[in-house]
Every structure is written in structure tokens, then in C-alpha cells.
Amino acid sequence: MTMRDLSTYAENTWCLGCGNFAILNSMKAVLNVLSEEGFPLEKVVLVSGIGCHAKIVDYINVNSFYAIHGRVVPVATGIKLANPDLKVIGFAGDGDAYGEGLEHLVFAAKRNIDITMIIHNNRVYGLTTGQYTPTSPLGFKGRSTPKGTVELPLNPVELMLTAGATFIARGYSHGIELLKRIFKQAINHKGFSFIDVLQVCVTFFNMYEYYNKRVYELEDDDLQNYDEALRKIREWDYNSDAPIALGTFYKREIPTFEERLLEHKAKAGDRDSKIKEILEQAI
């Protein structure tokens, strides 16, 4: 079977050296694999937010939706609830998902809605030329903080574990084979899947050399062990010098939000028909 051409007419305008290319190429490869395995790509919907990352939906020839800043999750949630047969994949930046739209991400994890969220975490606002984000390290010097930030970064992976996400992984833009593996696992996971991708912004926060010296790959074992996942996740806090684990931290299967919601609706439907039946008998 030949690879489906997922390219589009849109000219790619990311900076040369940008880590977004790895996410784009990984996703195209995974969608091709899904297609080869028999999943119709007409049932895939991509959603993106606002930021450099968002152009990714222009570059992949499947159904897509541009959301507004920070609102990828609610749009993706709405699409999934309207048609649970669809595979909904959201892309958001760290400013998008961990700043403006953080509450949506937390509630998606809490509800276990069956969508995949891929966060292009370059730890800087690239599109607006270099301001600090919730995951920029302490002392980060950018356009809005010329003397350095005075606040510690968020560990989004730890937040997602405690919020209830049922698939949690971290990738790195220099590591396309791992990205492909975890993207496929995440898309096939039944429930809320979250991937934080250390995606280097070569122009405003070039971390290639830093990450290349520190990253290592996790073994895919004991993935249902919450305490062990938390220990691995806390090894690096996005600020201090420490080994940086890549791969899947945690995975478990529980009923999804839409399953519970549809079951509830079905029960409610039974009740309505019984009331109608009683009323008709009484009248």
C-alpha cells in the first residue's frame, strides 16, 4: 500500500530549525499508519490554537479546526461529544495550553474525555517574539522580562497526573521515532491522552544542546503505578539541572466522559418513554 500524501498547498513558514517539523512529520507518519491499518482518515479531526504550532493544521490534509487562543480543549471536547466516532487530536502551545487555557486542560483530564492533546512546549511565546511562558525557567530573559523572570515554572506533566489524565507522556522534537511511537499510543488510547513535547524554538529559546545532554528514554513498564509515575515525573521540574525522562509515564483505562454521558442519556431516555407510556394509559 502506498503512503497517502497528507501534504497541502500551504507553504510552510516555520523557521528553519524549528522543532515543530518533528511533530508535523511524526503526525503525518502516524496518520498514514492508521490509514494503512484501515482507519478512515475522514474520521480524524485536528484542532489547533493560536501560536506558531497552530499552523500544523494547515500542513496536514485531514479535517481540521482553528480554535482561538487557549480554547483547543473545549472545541475538541465539543467535536468528540457531537460525534464520538471521530478521533480528535488537539495541538496547543505551552502559552496556549498552560497559560490562557490551563483550566480546560485540567478539566479534560478530570473528565477523561477521549481526545489527544499534544503540547508544543517550546517554553517561550515564539509568535510574539520571545516572552516567558508558564514553563520558562526561573530567570528567563525575554522581551517582557529583560532582567529575567522571578517565578518558578510549572511542571505540566505532574499537573496532568494529579488532575486525572489516563495517558501521560513526554517527547522531544529531536527524537522523531519516539514521537511516532507515543503519538500512536496516545491516539489509540481510550480516554484523555496528554503529551508534552519539548519542542525547541530555535529562534527565541534554543535548547537543543541543553536537552541533548540530559534526555533519556523510559522503559515502558509498570505504567499503571501512580506513585512510580509521580517519582519519574518529579525527577525534572522544568527548572533545575536533572536528567529528563522521555516516553510514557502513566497509562490506565477507565470509562470515558462521553461513555458515561451517553449512558446517562440512554437511561434518561428510558425514563421519558415510561412516563409517556403511563400518561397515555392514564389519559
Partner: protein, 64 residues
């Protein structure tokens, strides 16, 4: 396809590394996702080929 020893010397199956992100092009593996078959020497990659991880061109690669 047959090729002479001279040709093989001109087109060695060396690995090349992207100096921007660190991606390594291995001719034994090629880049199948971009239509590059295993066994394709770096020199034989089309000029339009770019690093799959960061988008830079062939001129940003160094021999390993």
C-alpha cells in the same frame, strides 16, 4: 543495480548529523516517511530533502 568500486568510494554509506538539532541520517534506514528508501546514500538525497526533525537543508549536515 551494479556499480563500480570507484562509484562506491564516491558515495560511501556514511551517516550524517544535522548540526542544528542533532538528527542523524542513516543510509541503512533512509527516510521512508519522506519516500527515501533504505540504502540511499546522503549524497543521493534530492536537494529538496530537509531534516525531518527541524526542517533545515542538506547543507546543514556534517559527516559523522
Amino acid at each position: 543495480m551494479w556499480c563500480s568500486i570507484e562509484e562506491m568510494e564516491i558515495k560511501p554509506m556514511d551517516k550524517y548529523r544535522c548540526i542544528v538539532c542533532g538528527y542523524v541520517y542513516d543510509p541503512q534506514i533512509g527516510d521512508p516517511d519522506d519516500g527515501i528508501s533504505p540504502g540511499t546514500a546522503f549524497q543521493d538525497l534530492p536537494d529538496s530533502w530537509v531534516c525531518p526533525e527541524c526542517g533545515v537543508g542538506k547543507d546543514m549536515f556534517e559527516i559523522l
